[in-house]
Symmetry: C2
Subunit: 250 residues, 2 copies
């Protein structure tokens, strides 16, 4: 409820990230703020090293490399990244579908932090930084299944939003599905969030069993083959388990 200038500066920073390289004028239109206010904010952010002028067109602003030093603890020192890298590539080679690495943001959502592409002409696309709800995706549920019961109930109490006609919005249905995920070791999503997108996901766990991240294979539903599911489920779970192991030995 306070620090208006700080809140606004961060909004502007995010807008620059989305539209970079961007001019002062474009941002003033976007926010409906006075030109001088936007300008002052940009200069301040740049002096702090978070923004910089584009090298070719110095009237355009872009994100500075400083932000790379600021990362969630799970990714600090890149142990998760580094550990996940090679298993993800091998998984992609095996199934030839896009692989995503995502981390949970509190109990809010999953955030995509890394990706290995497949070479199909038709493929799913999620940019680094994209978010998705915990209950409606394979990635989210694979994490959710391994959280303490009170966290699961808290999320259910907040309400299960519907994104498609197969989104699990019934608490009991979701609880049952989470149980299945715990026994099978992987989660599945068939068109439950974004139409046409299917995925299989398994969690990367911390020393104490807390889910840190998830490895997911995602594909257009046209290529999803239910007969391969047990096989692929096992492969994904093995990959996630390998990442868990490599991270702990790093």
């Amino acid at each position: 409820m306070e620090m208006k200038s700080v809140t606004r500066s961060l909004r502007i920073l995010e807008a620059v990230a989305q539209h970079q390289p961007v001019t002062v004028g474009e941002l003033t239109k976007l926010f409906g703020l006075p030109k001088s206010t936007v300008q002052r904010t940009l200069v301040t952010l740049a002096e702090a090293g978070w923004l910089r002028a584009n090298r070719r067109d110095t009237t355009r602003w872009e994100i500075g490399a400083r932000v790379l030093a600021v990362r969630p603890a799970a990714l600090q020192g890149s142990s998760l990244f580094a550990a996940a890298r090679e298993p993800m590539v091998r998984l992609r080679d095996e199934v030839n579908e896009t692989i995503h690495l995502s981390v949970p943001d509190a109990l809010q959502c999953m955030v995509v932090v890394d990706r290995v592409d497949c070479d199909h002409a038709v493929r799913t696309f999620h940019a680094i930084g994209d978010t998705s709800p915990l209950h409606a995706t394979a990635a989210g549920r694979s994490v959710l299944a391994h959280l303490p019961k009170r966290d699961i109930e808290e999320l259910i109490a907040r309400g299960l939003e519907r994104y498609s006609d197969t989104t699990p919005t019934d608490p009991d249905e979701l609880r049952a599905e989470l149980g299945r995920i715990r026994t099978d070791g992987y989660a599945v999503n068939l068109n439950q969030y974004r139409p046409g997108v299917c995925a299989i996901a398994a969690p990367v766990l911390d020393e104490d069993g807390t889910p840190l991240a998830t490895v997911a294979v995602s594909m257009p539903d046209s290529r999803f083959d239910v007969n391969r599911l047990p096989d692929w489920g096992r492969i994904v779970a093995d990959t996630a388990a390998e990442v868990t192991g490599r991270r702990l030995n790093a």
Copy 2:
């Protein structure tokens, strides 16, 4: 020179990143600021999604996943990351030394953005987000060599700081070395920045020849073998060229 609260908030954000998970008290000691000021700042940053309370110890603060959506344009959509991944792993397999991917931050410094580890017990270590000067490292010079002459002269005019007794601090010496890098296709660093660390680096270029990033092999000087240099130089240059190519076709 303005927006004190914004500048301070960003400093606090960076401090949280370095010390996470961290308490209000630790930050007040670190900055010598009043508790209420730090507290208010943390709450504001958290409301904006940039910070969050640690799940286990809710009095400790850590970085939220929101920051992952804010990245330099070169990394946006992860095209550089994704393109570099596999070539870096292959390079590591070939030389069994640590591989770094770094990007230039304006004309200020290089920032490490990705890493593939080797399996030697003794190895060099640079965390993601670490920075290094442009003139004193292989990574920096490999980028510098491909910048416009006026940028090179601007950097020289700012002064070439000495970090070890082999750091190139003489402008002519540096200019000559940059010429050699352009003809050879790779840069070399023997103890010129951090004592005991050697590296070989080659740049990843944009469509128009602008250096976007650099791929570097780094190793303890005890394992640096000058006889292998031409070979390894070529391999590193080939790897960087492959990343350049993959990125443009992605």
